[in-house]
Amino acid sequence: MKTLVLIGLSLLSITFLTAQSAEQRGLQIAKAADKADQGFNSSIVHLKMTLKNKNGQTSERLLITKTLEQTADGDKSLIVFNSPKDVKGTSTLTFTHKIGSDDQWLFLPSIKRVKRISSNNKSGPFVGSEFAYEDLSSQEVEKYSYKFLKENGTLLLVEQDPVDPKSGYTRRIVTYNKSKGYRIEKVEFYDRKNSLLKTLTYSNYKLYKGKFWRAGTFTMVNHQSNKETVLKFSEYNFEANLTDEDFTQVALKRAGQ
């Protein structure tokens, strides 16, 4: 009888523990992924964005992205457009915040104007692509709530619900690879009506500085519009030793001049 009670109790506690840990384990995985990527300091990367419409016609954009790692708050980033040529030099400076809206400035090279812009438009497309602004902004742990879904070999599936009501998604299902430093292999995006909107697949991973996994290709497929955007990253540079001085409005104008 005693044993039965004990078994019953331990069964209860297991259920209790697992019920509680779906959220906790999800958060743990997100934190582990964040931690695995800590210490890269800064990076510069060249990016080719290929936009494909449903008829297969393509157009291209060339960008350079500089990122500065921050520990107390979200990362800083500077994006410069090199093509199409009519928008060459158009640049953005973003200070991501773990809590609250990001600070963002836009540089317009034709009139040399720096304009502070609203970061309200998270769900809108980035330069006509299938990437929304929120897909490309720095991924901070605090921006989602988490739920662990299942383990598939070394792959861990975690549901992430955006904290910000302005997000275009109800949830994202993120596939982490535990054995490869918790790098992300795939993200599925569900729209506000909770139907599958897009799938982002990461491929051509490379390990930099023996620690940081960076995908060479991002492929975003929109299942509702049948449009596709491919990002190809090249010339990753982790040795530039960028500082806060490379992420100011002065540096923004310099980058786009």
Partner: protein, 402 residues
């Protein structure tokens, strides 16, 4: 066997290789050359107010650009040239928009040469922006500027914001439309007829300073300019003669933007002091954007600004007590299609100017733009604007980028 010497030798070779690689990347110069060719057609559909003014203005423009950057981009030479050929002889003009050397190090930046600098936040009027002379024959909105010779030193601090110091050794005069041109006064103003208050004329040594910073949702700029003004002063004596010249001015400017959710609240204000004239002017307004309306990227922005100028009817831009309203539509499509339309209306008279600007990319290296300015019910008593009352126009332009 002692392997240490080999180890050290290897280390030395590796280091030398590293140093060589580093100096290589420091010395590496990136060259970048670009060219834009533009064909433009302006059509003024009302009969001209003054004889010899034309209706049709086909025109061509060339914009070459060259950049050489080294020292990981912290040092560069930048060039932007401009040439336009037009029916109006005064609008046929060339300019060095930019030709300067730049060096940046840690928290400072130095610029030497001919450069363009923009200050301000509002859309319908640019009061605070004073470093460059307006290229008045190029566009009606005054957003195109002439290159300004300068030495600019920028000092950036994390806590106290950015400080800009300008030394401006040379003044450039504004060009006005010629005999055949539209958007001019009854008498053609030759820019050489306008004199200077300063005995040093265009060689008066001028200076400017600006501080800007941001605190959370606030972006603020404070500036001061001391030198020969960019706007000529028109004085009318009792006999009706016009005395026009470039005065020596002291101008203090303030620009402020509050970025709160989808709202941008904006304020620009100046106080200008000259021997012959003191005045205050401001532009205050807001911009609100409904973003991604159709879940397909469509953004619709609404703009409203109030403009005040103490000079009243002597205000060169005729924006003395006016309301601007407008809308910016961005499709966020692969062709970057965008439309901006609106109107400025005088609160004391019937005068209204409607405007439309739209642009779109074709392929990867062509763009097309349409512009319309409609002068509606312009009050004949408006000292400056009444001269333009028959000058409503449409403009189309096509550009090819190489």
């Amino acid at each position: 066997m002692n392997s240490k010497p080999i180890y050290y030798l290897l280390l030395l070779v590796c280091n030398m290789h590293n140093i060589a690689a580093q100096t290589e990347s420091l010395k590496k110069t990136h060259h970048d050359f670009e060219l834009e060719l533009e064909g433009e057609y302006r059509y003024f559909y009302d009969d001209a107010l003054f004889s010899s003014q034309k209706d049709h203005f086909p025109s061509l423009a060339i914009r070459p650009e060259y950049k050489a950057a080294w020292n990981k981009g912290y040092e560069s030479i930048n060039f932007k040239g401009f040439l336009r050929v037009d029916v109006d002889d005064e609008r046929t003009h060339w300019d060095i928009r930019e030709l300067y050397y730049q060096k940046a190090k840690n928290n400072w930046e130095l610029n030497l040469g001919i450069k363009k600098v923009y200050w301000g936040v509002t859309e319908s009027n640019h009061l605070v922006d004073i470093i460059n002379q307006t290229d008045a024959v190029e566009t009606f909105d005054g957003e195109k500027k002439l290159g300004q010779p300068m030495a600019q030193f920028t000092w950036n601090t994390e806590k106290f914001g950015t400080f800009d110091f300008f030394y401006l050794p040379y003044h450039r005069k504004r060009t006005f439309a010629g005999d055949k041109g539209r958007l001019r006064f009854a008498t053609v103003i030759d820019k050489d007829d306008l004199g200077y208050e300063s005995g040093a004329e265009e060689w008066r040594q001028d200076a400017a300073f600006r501080w800007n910073h941001y605190f959370g949702i606030f972006d603020i700029g404070l500036s001061h300019f001391y030198g020969t003004g960019r706007e000529p002063l028109f004085l009318f004596d009792t006999t009706g003669n016009i005395n026009a010249f470039y005065p020596i001015i002291n101008q203090t400017g303030l620009d402020l933007q509050i970025t709160h959710n989808a709202f941008l609240w904006k304020l620009e204000s100046i106080y200008r002091h000259a021997k012959a004239q003191d005045f205050f002017a401001m532009a205050v307004g807001l911009e609100y954007t409904f973003s991604n309306i159709d879940r397909n990227g469509l953004d619709i922005g609404l703009l409203a600004e109030y403009l005040y100028d103490e000079r009243d009817e002597l205000a060169l831009n005729a924006l003395q007590n006016d309301i601007f309203f407008g809308s910016r539509i961005a499709f966020n499509d692969t062709q970057d299609t965008s439309i901006l339309f609106g109107g400025i209306t005088d609160l004391e008279s019937s005068s209204t100017i409607f405007s439309l600007e739209a642009s779109r990319r074709f392929g990867s290296s062509w763009t097309a733009a349409i512009e319309g300015r409609i002068f509606n019910d312009i009050d004949k008593d408006e000292l400056i604007l009444s001269n333009f009352r028959e000058d409503s126009f449409f403009r189309i332009s096509i550009s090819k980028y190489f």
